[in-house]
């Protein structure tokens, strides 16, 4: 048995931060601490933040660090047990009943069970990371159901009985905060609010993610994106948009466009809302000039 508080050779938040960096994810101290505590205490990790700050990427990086398979459950309004847990393969069951004729047959065997993300994670807790993405999109009934799952890590299938995880699975939940999550759900989890990174860290992220981008370009993009985030936009550009913008501008520059112009022409990858574009267009030149200065 590994010493207490050590998971896959990681014994402190700093060790986890280093490991995440190896998986091309730059975590700040708060995130590294929260993720480490979640792993060490065997609790789910709840990440909240604006869209595009890297919540889903964080889960992918944790899976990569632990060398586990990532199972993703995308939530939506109306997500239910047959999409999240399991479903029976009914056509196959019916065929089996017909074929069996007079013989007895178990139609609730594994061959007829279709595993959905939560059951899959429960059955292989030591080799998977379960990501429950954008939980704020699901409805309240599903949240209540999740609460039960996250406290006991077990699932009841009426035909089969209760399936319990042999050890606590690693679970990461993300939320864009389009609505308040239930207090009880927050209580069950280790919580971290991911903010937009500092300009310095974001520039490093851009360079790490897009190897073709020069340092000056990365800094200019990050400065411009930082300014855009302070504007009252419908959808502020996230980190992913910053990376794409830097890549797109570099590409245009290589095919002959001059510098501030390359940014301007590729603004469409950073701002994806017609109203936002109309709002910012008049001041874009000044904003870019400041950012590239």
């Amino acid at each position: 048995m590994a010493p207490r508080g050590t998971i896959a050779g990681i014994d402190s938040p700093e060790a986890l931060e280093r490991a995440l960096r190896g998986a091309y994810y730059l975590a700040d101290e708060g995130l590294a601490t929260a993720a480490y505590l979640a792993l060490a205490l065997g609790k789910p990790l709840l990440l909240e933040g604006a869209p595009g700050v890297g919540k889903t990427e964080a889960a992918k990086a944790v899976a990569a660090v632990l060398a586990r398979r990532l199972i993703r459950l995308q939530c939506y309004e109306g997500v239910d047990a047959s999409a999240a847990l399991y479903e029976w393969n009914y056509p196959r069951q019916m065929l089996a009943i017909r074929q069996a004729g007079e013989q007895s047959i178990d139609i609730y065997g594994d061959t007829f069970l279709i595993e959905r993300p939560m059951l899959a994670a429960l059955r292989a807790p030591d080799s998977t990371v379960l990501l429950i993405d954008e939980i704020d999109r699901s409805d309240q009934e599903f949240e209540a159901f999740l609460l039960e799952f996250l406290s006991d890590f077990q699932i009841s299938i009426p035909e089969r009985g209760t399936i319990r995880a042999m050890e606590r699975p690693v679970v990461v939940l993300t939320s864009n905060r389009t609505r308040d999550l239930h207090e009880a759900l927050r209580r069950r989890c280790v919580y971290h609010w991911i903010d937009y990174p500092t300009a310095e860290r974001e520039a490093r992220i851009v360079m790490m993610r897009a190897s073709t981008v020069a340092e000056a370009t990365a800094r200019a993009v990050v400065a411009a994106v930082g300014k855009l985030r302070r504007e009252p936009l419908t959808k502020a550009p996230g980190i992913a948009e910053a990376v794409e913008w830097a890549e797109a501008a570099t590409l245009l520059n290589q095919s002959g466009a001059r510098w501030p112009d390359a940014f301007k022409r590729s603004i469409g990858v950073a701002l994806k809302d017609e109203e936002d574009l109309a709002y910012i267009r008049a001041r874009l030149d000044g904003l870019l000039a400041e950012a590239t200065a």
Binding site: R4, G5, S12, P13, E29, G30, T33, A34, L37, A38, A40, L41, K43, L46, E48, A50, Y76, E77, G78, V79, D80, W88, Y90, P91, Q93, M94, I97, R98, A100, I107, N176, R177, T178, R179, E183, R186, R187, R188, C189, V190, Y191, H192, W193, P232, T234, K235, E275
Partner: protein, 370 residues
């Protein structure tokens, strides 16, 4: 209690108690997590304790500053500042433009010219007179479950007729009959209640109706669990939590305490824009039945109000503007602002009485179909 705790743990448990006294909801199991987290991280530094607290006690992000201040007071022995209340996210203060000096609101006189819509903030606490149950509200409570707007849900339920076969049930049924499928059971989509968003103008020019409108919001909240309610005047305040309280007096008192811009000036355009600029709030409008209860007496330039209403109409399932100025069925808006927004709203009807508003709310489903 403190005798059974190890001495080292006392400071941390005391910190949790301090948080609770300052309005943070911390459950016992979170305290346990907090202690085990500190134990795990080892005696390294006070920053680790702070981070462990953030992760396990989960203070809401908007109260982070308060948390940090309390932390410094408790563990670093900092002096308590006179007031350690972080800016509450539920209230948005609208930008003041220029020096705010204007004439006081002339709320007692009936006026349609818009001169009572003043810009200065006038923050007062309001008391509600206890009132008897209104017939209209009783009608709302009685008929709402059947007649509130609904949308098709994602989940399916058993039905005699429906587009899908209920394979699970059919199979169970057939197992009982030696694998013979005797009848195919059906499923259909469940109908779910639509989101409702109510924005109530509490400025001076709406003074006569404010009490009634909040009572209405409370009655609606009791029958429509997915309701969101806001008030606006010189500020935008989320009053969803207070109006969801069961007892009406309690709900109104809580709302009165929360809202501080009663009977003051109004900046409708700014208030609506501010609402849409907060992504979390703007999400409430998407696909929702939106009711804006306001006289639309915008002071000065109304382009901000028009643009905001246009944005609302793109997000909402149906946008209803309820104005006390519309008294008859054949109402044509007179003020420029109302004329400008007319083409963006689906309904522009009277809100002179609670009956009228209730009638609109209950007819939303049919109006859409028509």
């Amino acid at each position: 209690m403190s005798e059974v705790l190890p001495r080292a743990a006392r400071a941390f448990v005391a910190f949790v108690a301090l948080l609770r006294r300052n309005g943070f909801a911390v459950a016992p199991e979170q305290t346990i997590s907090f202690l085990s987290a500190i134990d795990l991280l080892g005696p390294r530094g006070v920053e680790d304790v702070r981070q462990a607290g953030l992760a396990t006690l989960a203070p809401p992000p908007e109260r982070r500053a308060t948390y940090d201040a309390l932390f410094r007071i408790h563990f670093l022995g900092e002096e308590a500042p006179p007031r350690i209340e972080g800016e509450d996210e539920e209230t948005l203060r609208l930008q003041e433009e220029g020096p705010g000096f204007d004439e006081p609101p002339l709320a007692d006189e009936a006026n349609e010219s818009g001169q009572s819509a003043v810009r200065t903030e006038l923050t007062v606490e309001r008391r509600f007179a206890p009132g008897g149950t209104h017939d209209a509200l009783r009608r709302l409570t009685r008929e709402a479950p059947r007649r509130l707007p609904r949308r098709r849900g994602h989940r399916r339920q058993r039905a005699r007729r429906g587009p899908w076969a209920d394979l699970r049930r059919t199979l169970r049924d057939s197992a009982r009959n030696d694998g013979e499928v005797l009848r195919l059971l059906r499923l259909r989509r469940r109908r779910r209640l639509r989101k409702l968003l109510v924005l109530i103008d509490v400025s001076g020019s709406m003074k006569d109706r404010t009490d009634e409108n909040l009572k209405l919001a409370h009655a609606l909240a009791q029958v429509a669990p997915q309701l969101e309610a806001f008030t606006f005047g010189t500020r935008l305040t989320r009053v969803t939590r207070p109006v969801k309280l069961k007892r009406r007096e309690q709900a109104l008192a809580a709302a009165a305490h929360l809202v501080s811009d009663w009977d003051g000036g109004t900046r409708i355009g700014d208030a609506l824009q501010a609402f849409l600029d907060v992504p979390r709030f703007a999400g409430y409008a998407r696909g929702a039945a939106v009711l804006i209860i306001s006289d639309g007496l915008e002071r000065g330039d109304f382009t901000a109000m028009r643009d905001a209403v246009a944005r609302f109409s793109r997000r909402a399932w149906r946008l209803s503007w309820l104005t006390p100025l519309a008294t008859s069925r054949a109402f044509t808006p007179q003020t420029e602002a109302l004329v400008a927004i007319r083409r963006y709203v689906d309904d522009m009807v009277g809100a002179g009485s609670t009956q009228a508003i209730v009638a609109l709310v209950l007819s939303l489903n049919d109006r859409r179909a028509a």
